[in-house]
């Protein structure tokens, strides 16, 4: 690890001020991803501004009936929070599907949003990677790309965003509050992460001097018909090959509203409003779900080792929607498919 300066931020204003005065600095909270990347020399911050003691660790109800989640709430604390368990069980499930309990005890909500891809070439300094070193090329496109993206890829990058939490936040249409010397702004989750395009070095639309302070959930939590189904190489403690978060509103035997997002397949949580709209007014059954899956995966492209993901995603969408419609969401401890 390359040396760095270290300072603890006393207040949010202090954190933002220090960042503005320190080119090449990074905020650190749980450190589960950043410290790992620093050990690999993929990240080389000149300074760490420790925000872990800022008062951003509460979950509060908002005036419109939603919740405001402080950026420093630990993943475990959020997953087991009574209001999350009761009103946003899909988010609780997605959180518990990610990482291990030790990592969830460390990892903050803000850090989860900002975590970087686990593409093996991004971590491997000996190989070209446009995300790590823009302009050097993408080693994954013709390389070992089993874990890589099938949707929204570019000639520059086929990395995936590895978060489970963010896939649920996409369905819940969360918003992210950030602050900087220029003031506060709110970013929709769908606008938070980027597709790689020709600037894969930029994972998100957050500027380098902006601090994530909270995540806000709208009132609709889909607590009756929801699901988080994660398909991976082992039963636990592995990144998704494909995951699906689902929120359904059913009325009189038909679908009144449907939302679903895919994880493990793109540079951001993947939603298709066209696929969701196709379910409106339909009977929730395998035929309608399969049609939605086909629409969601239109334009999907495999790169050899990961081509199986297209079929896997199609089947995972149908299964995840079916489980949600039956009110039988996937358990994150008993891994038998319900």
């Amino acid at each position: 690890m390359i040396g760095f300066q270290y300072a603890r931020a006393g207040t949010i204003a202090d954190a933002v001020r220090q960042m503005a005065a320190s080119p090449g600095a990074k905020f650190v909270a749980g450190g589960t991803n950043l410290v790992d990347l620093m050990k690999m020399d993929v990240e080389r911050p000149a300074k760490l501004i420790d925000v872990s003691r800022l008062p951003l660790d509460t979950v509060e109800e908002t005036a419109d009936g939603g919740l405001r989640i402080g950026a420093l709430v630990r993943n475990t604390d959020l997953a087991y929070h009574p209001l999350i368990e009761r009103r946003y069980p899909m988010l609780a499930s997605a959180l518990l599907a990610g990482a291990s309990q030790q990592l969830r005890n460390m990892a903050s909500v803000g850090g989860n949003l900002l975590q970087r891809t686990r593409c093996a070439y991004f971590y491997d300094l000996a190989t070209p990677c446009n995300k790590r070193e823009p302009g050097t090329g993408c080693s994954a496109i013709a390389g070992l790309n089993r874990m890589n993206a099938i949707l929204g890829t570019s000639e520059s990058c086929i990395a995936v965003h590895p978060s489970d939490m963010c896939v649920a936040l996409a369905v819940l249409e969360a918003t992210i509050r950030v602050t900087s010397p220029r003031g506060e702004r709110v970013i929709a989750l769908s606008d938070f992460h980027r597709l790689p395009g020709d600037t894969p070095q930029r994972d998100t639309n957050v500027a380098a001097d902006e601090l994530v302070t909270s995540v806000e959930l709208p009132v609709q939590g889909f607590a009756t018909s929801y699901n988080y189904l994660k398909i991976r190489d082992r039963l636990s403690y592995a990144f998704a090959l494909v995951s699906v978060a689902v929120g359904l509103e059913l009325e009189g035997g038909t679908v009144k509203q449907a939302r679903f997002a895919l994880g493990g397949v793109a540079h951001k949580p993947w939603r298709s409003t066209e696929a969701e709209a196709a379910l409106h007014g339909r009977t929730p059954n395998e035929a309608s779900f399969a049609q939605a899956a086909d629409l969601a995966l239109r334009g999907a492209k495999g790169f050899g080792h990961n081509s199986f993901k297209i079929d896997l995603a199609r089947r995972a969408i149908v299964r995840a929607l079916s489980q949600a419609a039956r009110g039988a969401p996937q358990s994150q401890s008993n891994k038998k498919i319900a």
Partner: protein
Amino acid sequence: MTDRDPGLIPVNLTVNGAAHALNLDPRSTLLDVLREQLDLTGTKKGCDQGQCGACTVLVDGRRVLSCLTLAITKDGANVTTVEGLAKDGTLHPLQQAFIDHDAFQCGYCTSGQLCSAAGLIAEGKARTADEIRELMSGNICRCGAYPNIVAAIQQAMRQP
């Protein structure tokens, strides 16, 4: 001192009840401080990348990975390592249960398994064997002692 060398930074840690006033390179992980500076070598370095759980310790009562924890960020914290589980010469119920159930072969993951299981019991979220397996999934055992580890944890959970 240069731009990338801030020198040593004072850090206070209480480890297994003993207070330590340390001066640390900011790069020091909690794992390396425990092993190299405090001679508490019970905590193991497995992957050093947050993928195996061998370095699990309790920080302020919660199980975390010491390999991904920069020690400076834990100034003032209370750390418990495997050396701190036994009390007054009596094994912790988990340690006795691991012996009773033969819950290890080579033993390299065991200190992490024990600290992780202590955290698991304190969290109170696991009741069934499935739940124990899921919430212990961050601790890899390459000898494959998993069934015995689950049995040992179940025995310790039955004790007050």
